[in-house]
Subunit: 194 residues, 2 copies
Amino acid sequence: MKKIITISREFGAGGSTIGKKVAEILGYEYYDKSIILQAASEKNIDISKVLKSDEEAPFLTGFTQSLFDFYNKPINDQIFEAQKEVIRKFGEHGHCVIVGRNANQILQEFDDSLHVFIHADPWWRVEYLKNNRMQDVSEEKIMRDLVRVDRKRCKYCTYYTNTEFGDSRYYDLCLNSGKFGLDECAKLIVELSR
Amino acid sequence: MKKIITISREFGAGGSTIGKKVAEILGYEYYDKSIILQAASEKNIDISKVLKSDEEAPFLTGFTQSLFDFYNKPINDQIFEAQKEVIRKFGEHGHCVIVGRNANQILQEFDDSLHVFIHADPWWRVEYLKNNRMQDVSEEKIMRDLVRVDRKRCKYCTYYTNTEFGDSRYYDLCLNSGKFGLDECAKLIVELSR
């Protein structure tokens, strides 16, 4: 029985929803943004700064950006380390689904784990977001967000773990949620974790 | 019901074995190297040259290599095009499992398809090859072959399809066969193709 399930995901591919379904079926704890909040409170880090740096690598490109990031870098790194500790603590306790935050890499040596990546075609993700979390936003704006968030997650992943976001070799199971649907994905994950 | 199943795979991850199991369970035709032979015979291409160029991109690097490849390029490209035709013909007929040869990209617009990628940790693949297809070969030699064949398949994939070998976004389902075992992988593929 796999006691730790990590779910990495493209923006808008339904990874959190799948994660929640899996946690519910298995009776596991579910963690996503809560990790960062717990990490911040444990380390006495300013919550507003923390939320701003969620899943962001500390620097992009360009001189201004570099200057900006120079001052922000300590917070991002500090938060990553604090989150890592919290994730490892969750991992040791087991019986949980963790979404995002490179938990697959942080918990890679844990034997009782199942590391999942959820992706879908961009057009499917735009439609999914339009029908769910972003009903009042134009499709053009959603598409821009898609590109921006995906790029941010890629950078965060590469910067902190030196692995490639979405490369199947870093996960046990990768699923196209647009092809199979969220319920079927959750069912498969549950099946493979038993 | 998915009528075409393509399986891309790392060397030694058991992709062909899984493909054969799936074909057997579903009563589908199974194709791998046979594609290249059929392609060659349909186009009157010399079989010995064909086997040499199997899943190889036409050039590597370096001046000598370039010269060598300059003369070989036509055969590789010719074979790729001939295989593409054969694969599309199989795809149109349906009810088949196709292993390797970038069939996932060649048949990407076919609706009734399921594109799978099979991978496993290098140490697992060495052990698997040692216990199966390469019993008389030293582990060091198998490891060298692993690196060489993986690299060759990556190049072939990038050269002919402009996609990244093993990037989950180019497949519907990616499985770590070392984690789940070959029978479980075959079972999952069958389940998802129904």
